[in-house]
Symmetry: C2
Subunit: 376 residues, 2 copies
């Protein structure tokens, strides 16, 4: 890997941005949705199928992979790309978010976090330095700073404390990571719903300097209106010539609203997790295929979708295999949901390029408001 | 569907037979292994992946499909082929075997069997006439007679009673099915381990006349030696110019031994079921990928196999995703096992064509005896 990391802004439409991230493992068209491959697999998908949906990058989870199979083991086996047979870029999170969610099982200090594995109770420590090491062992293309992300609502003092700790950890992450020689390091803005704290965090991150910047600490219980409220200003505090990543978002309308507000990258378990429980995302809203109204419906889930689930099967079939608990239900519906998300990103890319994002957004909401096709 | 069903014997080597079954939905190369698609899906596989392994035909289960989603519903939706998106031939069993296994939940009379659904306790009746109707509604290409298959060991009088009832039901199945106008009807020889009963059953079936003949009542607890003992004579009692199907078999060495003894078709849940629990079939025997010795092994499961599991992943990865309970483990290992079974059938076809089945069989056993490759 000799080529370096880069970001090219190709067009803007309002605050929405069309761009391209260059990495040694290939380009990432932005705005990009990154499917989540928590434990070395995008659940229920083969990697070639993930690629077939149009995904340029997937996300891996430091927390899960450090516990099982272990970062040193993945490194010995040639890194995460070879291990999971995904040759395009991978972004890894820092482990911070999952570790902080362990509530009673973890202890936070200035140095880092100690916690017990949810798998076997073994004790682990995660620090900015160890997080950088793990992400390097995994072979990540985009490495995230180790941070503390408090759940909302939280009082301002607590949000400020967590943000300032995260900024000290960001500096240690940068120092441990070093200069970029292929992979990139992204800083993470914190500050909850507080504009001043967001500004302070952004300023500190810019002083340290990163290859990209995430808006962290959202989609943690605050609701869409509050999230959009922050997104109305927070991305603008970050350098315009670097990619901006909104972590853990979201539903399709969250994604459209985030892109509108200048976000370039997102990730979420929603399309994969929902696929395994029978919830399908379509242009006309969410369709719950477990519902008995689909039992005799010969029509495809979404006639406008080119995924295998929509090309080869009726709603009646999808309903049947869901009810029967057959694995093919999760396989087909995950594929469909990831295809829907990638199609949505592609439509937004085209709309920004053509300077018609506003019209796209109006059409997006109008089609959803029409609701699912009526039962036969 | 206007073309009719036919069987062409292309070569023999000892008792082993190379042939081809013609059906309106395409040819079936024999000896053939039929993956089991119980409830409208070969578990953990997309149908295009099943086809990619080289399978010409899959099996569907009358019992499961009549309960859920229901045969009339499948018919309204265009038949089982369209429903499950498998456009090649399908063989359906009669429901007899599963219903007889319900023990306390079913009642057997001359007319047929009444039983309670294992899903919701609803009461159903299955008779030769209803089984023919269900298999017609499903759109089966190869329909099986409704029969009673006793578990072994059983005393001779009980085996004789069940065989004679099955022969009366075979006559009623033939009458209800009518003459073949596309799909074929197969009779099922019964008689357990008793040569005289097998002969009586075969004679009765030949009098009635079928498009193909199954050896039933084996692989029900008698062990391989006893099964091979019956296969040394039972297939020869059936017409040489019609396909011979050994139901519910088996392990790879069962299959090789059955083909050697003149069997043309087989089915078994073993490759699919084992794939979901981490047991992989290879030329060098069964490999249990849950075993800790694979945790650091960078080598493929079987370097000689062209399936996605062997081309794209290490044993260490397969071990990891199995331990983590990830769906991709079942997807990859099912694919591998089905590929192994189809490769085995293709090798046997080539060996029969070349008149070297004996050498093939010796090599098959020799390679297995060598055992799995040593850990690194």
């Amino acid at each position: 890997m000799t080529a370096s990391f880069g970001f090219k802004l190709k067009a803007t439409d309002g605050r929405a941005r069309l761009g391209e991230i260059e990495t040694p493992r290939g380009r990432i068209r932005t705005p990009a949705f990154m499917p989540v491959g928590t434990a070395g697999t995008v659940k229920a998908m083969l990697p070639e199928s993930v690629a077939a949906t149009g995904a340029d990058i997937v996300l891996g989870n430091t927390y899960h992979l450090m516990l099982r199979p272990g970062a040193e083991r993945v490194a010995r086996l040639g890194g995460l790309h070879a291990f999971m047979n995904w040759r395009r870029p991978i972004l890894t999170d820092s482990g911070g978010f999952q570790v902080m969610s362990l509530a009673g099982l973890r202890k936070l200090t200035e140095k880092g976090v100690t916690f017990k594995s949810h798998i076997d109770g073994a004790r682990f420590e995660l620090t900015p330095e160890r997080s950088m090491e793990i992400q390097r062992l995994l072979g990540s293309d985009i490495v995230m700073c180790f941070d503390e992300c408090p759940a909302l609502p939280a009082d301002t003092a607590e949000v400020a404390r967590a943000m300032r700790l995260s900024m000290r950890w960001a500096e240690r992450s940068r120092a441990a990571f070093g200069e970029p020689t292929g992979p990139a390091l992204f800083g993470i803005q914190q500050g909850g719903l507080d504009r001043d704290l967001r500004a302070e965090s952004a300023e500190r991150l810019r002083e340290i300097g990163f290859e990209g910047y995430a808006v962290g600490g959202l989609a943690v219980g605050e609701g869409q209106a509050a999230m959009f409220g922050v997104l109305d200003y927070a991305p603008q505090m970050l350098p315009a010539d670097k990619p901006r990543y909104l972590m853990g978002v979201g539903k399709p309308d969250d994604i459209v609203g985030a892109v509108k507000r200048g976000i370039d990258m997102m990730d979420c378990v929603l399309p994969t997790r929902s696929g395994r429980t029978g919830q399908a995302f379509t242009r006309r809203g969410v369709v719950n295929l477990k519902n008995a109204r689909h039992a005799d419906d010969p029509r495809p889930l979404d006639a406008g979708c080119a995924c295998p689930a929509c090309r080869g099967y009726s709603r009646a079939y999808l309903h049947h295999v869901l009810r029967a608990g057959e694995m093919i239900s999760g396989m087909l519906l995950t594929w469909h949901n990831l295809q829907y998300y990638q199609d949505l990103m592609a439509e937004m890319c085209a709309a920004i390029a053509a300077g018609r994002f506003e019209a796209f957004e109006a059409g997006f909401h109008e089609t959803r408001a029409a609701g699912d096709i009526a039962p036969t």
